[in-house]
Symmetry: C2
Subunit: 357 residues, 2 copies
């Protein structure tokens, strides 16, 4: 063995090698620094020079190496999505939304599911962010609601956007989903249908959205002088099974609720099972409202009346904001601006009807 070690190496075929900044510089008859200026949109390049360089770049199909840029810039061109949300559709919609904004930007999306209950969670998170030198990271509930995570990001100096149902941070770092409004919409709908004996199934208390959805529901009922007694409120876990069991309990109450609002679609689907097992009918005996409007809402029978959250849109806004903040001057953050917000919307289907007389 005349050579040294044998480290992992790649197959190395691939035809002619990719053009580099040096090729562009040579062809354009300028220094590579000038090419670099064009790549990075510096205003200090003569229009003519810029055009010539851009032409050559297009001609030879040059595209700057993200690795090399990353090394020189001391940060990667990666944007992270950190989530611990159990719902696959939420996750995928989020990813799609972020990619909508990232397409053509040169950034790539790195996904990082995590578990806040894991004892090494914070250490792992820190290592991930530091190692990868992410350009920015988007956090979804419930990780987004963990202030220890914020502290780490501030320490490292990594840009971030937190998705949350309330403004838990400065406007520059957040996109709010206004779940409270959604809760109000659900209550309004049921009240307008004449329901007065209503049950509620909350999500787990570790999710801020649980409190918001319930809070909005409560408020609207109160505004309409309707009561939501404590025993008509059950604590679920945002899972199908918890919907079944909480629904079963609610239906045992006397007087029996004529409507149930479950804080997400999974649980609402579970309530439908509980209704059927109790020998009752939806919506004739009991109306049901969900929250999210994921696929499951339209697949169950009867199709669920629910509150739609614009998840993909939120993802797009988050990534846009991140890219804008990173590419712009640091001073561009405008702290006086309000946090961008989206609004949920009621979707009426077949699981709700007039209160039985």
């Amino acid at each position: 063995m005349t050579d040294d070690d044998n480290p992992p190496r790649r197959r190395g075929l691939g035809g002619e090698k990719k053009p580099t900044i040096n090729d562009v510089a040579r062809l354009a008859g300028v220094s590579k620094k000038t090419v670099s200026r064009v790549i990075n949109q510096s205003p200090f390049v003569k229009e003519e020079t810029r055009e010539n360089i851009n032409r050559i770049i297009a001609e030879i199909g040059f595209s700057p190496d993200p690795q090399a840029r990353g090394l020189a810039f001391r940060r990667s061109f990666l944007i992270g999505l950190v989530y611990d949300n159990p719902n696959p559709q939420y996750v995928v919609n989020m990813q799609l939304g972020m990619l909508d904004a990232m397409r053509g930007s040169g950034y790539e999306l790195v996904v990082h599911p995590c578990n806040r209950n894991n004892p090494t969670f914070l250490a792992d998170f820190r290592r991930f962010i530091e190692r990868q030198k992410l350009s920015g990271v988007v956090l979804t509930p419930s990780v987004s609601e963990d202030d220890r995570v914020k502290v780490i990001l501030d320490e490292i100096g990594c840009a971030y956007i937190r998705i949350a149902s309330v403004p838990v941070d400065e406007p520059a770092h957040i996109i709010v989903s206004n779940d409270r409004q959604g809760g109000r919409a659900a209550a309004r709908h049921l009240a307008e249908l004449g329901h007065t004996t209503i049950g509620f199934i909350s999500g787990p208390p570790s999710f801020r959205s649980s409190h918001e959805r319930r809070g909005g529901f409560d408020e609207e009922l109160k505004d309409r002088k309707l009561k939501l007694p404590d025993d008509y409120v059950m604590q679920g876990a945002y899972t199908f099974e918890s919907g079944v069991s909480c629904g079963t309990e609610l239906l045992k109450l006397s007087p029996q609720p004529t409507a149930i609002f479950a804080a997400n679609d999974e649980m609402a689907a579970g309530v439908l099972h509980a209704i059927r097992r109790a020998g009752l009918k939806c919506p004739e005996d009991v109306s049901v409202v969900g929250f999210d409007d994921f696929q499951i809402a339209s697949s169950v029978w009867p199709p669920l009346t629910t509150v739609r959250t614009p998840t993909r849109e939120i993802g797009r806004m988050a990534a846009e904001k991140l890219i804008g903040a990173t590419d712009a001057d640091d001073d561009d953050e405008n702290p006086r601006e309000a946090a961008p917000a989206t609004s949920p919307a009621l979707v009426v289907r077949d699981s709700t009807g007039p209160a039985p007389r």
Copy 2:
């Protein structure tokens, strides 16, 4: 302005900067090349030296910069997931499985949804792979079944694993899911319940799994001398809506089928709606079998008998194989070995029952 241009720059706080290979080398009193050897597990380092270096690495919390390694290695430490599968749960399970294998390996997961119908699809795909110099990429159906994609990957010299229901490639490049077996299991179950008039709803022909699931179903029925006439076969699209419409058509046939096998859970859920709208009951009048065992299967009423595919497991195997192939010697690929395969399993719930008399 005494300085030059003002390129995007990061907040730059972050306290002391991260230790580099030079720090380790200095502290250990060796050259950085020796540290590099330790990082890359070269055998040509004295045991004592190695231990000393590893101790120092742990002490100061050194972790090699992926960007710098990437630049020197001429490849990134990123693994891609390219998908055009419409089902969120499939996508998320796949990601989780891949991450199971990637945890602690130093690789990160970059997601890349795509649309094969987009005219720029192939060009975009090539650019993505070339630019990012991915360590490897996992392709899921139906992109995984596109041979033009394989050609591009071979040209570029990027490692890849294709997930498919049949061995469409050399064993080194594939993980097979054996959907045919699953189709057989569905047929066997229905036959054993005494059904003889059976309907089938296929997936879109662009998915190989459509043909496999149907093929297995056909074979098993034939083995048992049962017929599946052409008009008892409908072409669906793996969507809920197509399940509703195909189910509706099947129920108009005379004699009416007493059982329907839909090639995925979404469509099976749609069939349940069709049954209900026709004033029939499941499973008393019509039994239904799905495929995948995603969440929807247990959320609908009645909970679906279905065929479970180990998606997460498949994802884990794929990433493991990719990492193994990349880190090992190139000649390590063993082309005589069979392609790793997984088996689907029947899950019996409440949507199937004995054939009505």
